[in-house]
């Protein structure tokens, strides 16, 4: 085990997977010479060469479309999008070619594609560089979506994503790239896709979060503990497929649930979670499920972002209200 930042862990994991399997390759804008805008691919071109670490033109539909072709013919591409907001240029390729290829072809083609994309707010970046768009692609069957909140999970989920037979969208928290640091296994480490993680056990209320909001939820849980409220924080970490068992087991035990996300509220992924919890835990619920989300606007300018996305204070407030209900 070594304490590492999330970005360092992602870089290391890419390197390990490329060393392990020579079909694994990286492609994207500025991933080679520059080592990626956030340096997630630093040093990879020097070690593996320009054939396996491909600098592409600015052409996201091309990057993802080419990844599909590469995979069907036997390579294992890991595509980088500089920000999830640029996935829209490739929306059709991701949601409706990549995700549907297996279904249409009866699974006869390999489709081992990973798309890495940083996202999320609180880094003073403008709209399209901060918005949480995961919900838009969660509605595209055939695509798996994971979003780690710890460096260890970043390693475990990236390794699993690259080796998964299905395409995986791997979401990296911009805010957590350097802020999140924890003990990371030095050797091969896999976290099964489709499993949630109890990030902090507690008996009074369950907070469901993913990506950087888990960090905020843990902070809120700490503060709540001082008031005598024991919060259980469940790191959803795999949005598609969803670990309904762990989530339902937790909420049934606590009887209360707060769902936290950064996206605009209307049709955000939190609505999916809320509905799932309501169906699975109806008879155990002691309070309405509370939902925290962004506003129904584009991501705002830096001066307002603290009011836009849920942070520790809003989570703590929702926890108090839900427990007092």
């Amino acid at each position: 085990m070594t304490v590492r930042s999330m970005i360092e862990t992602i870089r290391l994991t890419l390197e390990d997977e490329m060393a392990r399997d020579e079909r694994v390759m990286v492609l994207g804008e500025d991933v080679g010479t520059q080592g990626g805008v956030f340096r997630a691919t630093e040093g990879l071109k020097a070690r593996f060469g320009a054939d396996r670490v491909v600098d592409t033109p600015v052409a996201e539909a091309g990057i993802i479309g080419a990844s599909i072709g590469l995979a069907t013919a036997g390579m294992v591409p890991v595509a980088e999008l500089q920000f999830l907001g640029f996935a829209h240029q490739a929306f059709h390729q991701i949601g409706f070619q990549l995700a549907r290829f297996r279904y249409r072809t009866l699974g006869r083609f390999p489709l081992q594609v990973t798309i890495r994309a940083p996202y999320g707010g609180a880094v003073h970046a403008p709209e399209l560089h901060s918005d949480a768009f995961e919900g838009m692609l969660a509605n595209a069957p055939g695509l798996k979506i994971v979003a780690p909140s710890t460096a260890a999970d970043a390693r475990g989920l990236l390794t699993s994503a690259i080796r998964d037979p299905d395409p995986v969208l791997y979401l990296e928290p911009l805010r957590g790239y350097r802020l999140v640091r924890d003990e990371v296994p030095d050797d091969e480490h896999l976290v099964p896709i489709g499993t949630a993680r109890i990030a902090r056990p507690g008996r009074d209320v369950t907070v469901l979060a993913w990506s950087f909001q888990v960090v905020n939820a843990l902070e809120a849980a700490e503060a709540a503990a001082e008031e005598g409220i024991e919060v259980e924080v469940v790191d959803v970490r795999s949005l598609v497929p969803l670990d309904e068992t762990t989530i339902a087991e937790s909420v049934s035990r606590t009887g209360r649930c707060v769902v936290v996300e950064e996206a605009p509220r209307t049709a955000g992924f939190g609505a999916e979670l809320t509905s799932t919890v309501q169906e699975l835990c109806f008879l155990d619920l002691e309070a309405p499920i509370a939902r925290l989300a962004g506003w129904d606007t584009p991501y705002p300018m830096p001066l307002l972002e603290k009011d836009y996305i849920p942070g520790t204070a809003r989570i703590l407030d929702a926890v108090r209200r839900t427990v007092a209900f």
Binding site: Q34, D55, P57, V58, G85, Q89, L128
Partner: protein, 332 residues
Amino acid sequence: MPRVDPSTPEGARAALTTMWTIRRFEEALEDLYSRGLLHGTNHLSIGQEAVAVGVCGALEEGDLITSTHRGHGHCLAHGADPMRMMAELLGRVDGYCRGRGGSMHIADVDAGNLGANGIVAGSMTIAAGAALSMRMQGRDAVVVCFFGDGAANEGSFHEALNLAGVWGLPVLFLCENNQYGMSMSQDSSTAGGSVAARGAAYGIEGRRIDGNDLDAVHAAAAEAVAGVRAGGGPALLEAVTYRYRGHSKSDRNLYRTLDEIESWRNERDPVDRFEAAAVASGRLTAEDVDAVRAEARDLLRDAVQRAVRSPEPTVDDLDGAAYAGRSTAAVA
């Protein structure tokens, strides 16, 4: 009549003032950023001023532009007030969009700037549509679509040129070729090696010009705009220039040499070149040049001082702001 004619003394003075205003504006951004007063990413066009000033100077009242993530020059050259623009970048209520747009999405409706765009090539088809709209309404306005060399590799570039070509639209596609898209040189990213040459595929005449020679940019743009306005269909210019600063703050310049940057700065700077040309041709005196520099410095100092005093918006501003009604009410 074009707004600015740099071949005259008054026009030369106006063009130089705008070039200095842009440069001082962006230097002020660097300063505000280093003092923690400006948040987020800014893409600076220092070294590229002649493109924005030459092209926008060739336009008339009522003409439209679409801009890019590196659009401060376009915005100022198309008539923005530096104070309101600075307020926008600082996220304040006196900004053109109440701070909602910021550097990457500022728009100046009154001046006819349909907006910068945080998405590379994001404005290109919008420009084609605006041009069609102008024609359908019988207005003889021209739309200038600014875009970068990197943007020419996005699908939207090709869709926009094809639409403009097939519909014969009044749009001038203006490629600001600063030779890199982030770390990627044009050579390594662009099949065929030239954006101008791509025009031929869409029946559009493309020309490559020296983007650091204000007189040359203005002359080429004026000619192209006149042809477009006369109903000759779209035009394409590729203005070769150079960005001195990193792509954005985090750029470590791993993809080019310091020598390369220095040689452009020392030998081909567009402001230096225009000052020298204007003085040599007798359009301006050395005293005029000094006066223009001082004027731009004072203008910016004043703009910054007023912009930082503009109030910050509150979160209530977001309520309903994405839909008609509230969004416009907040601005009125």
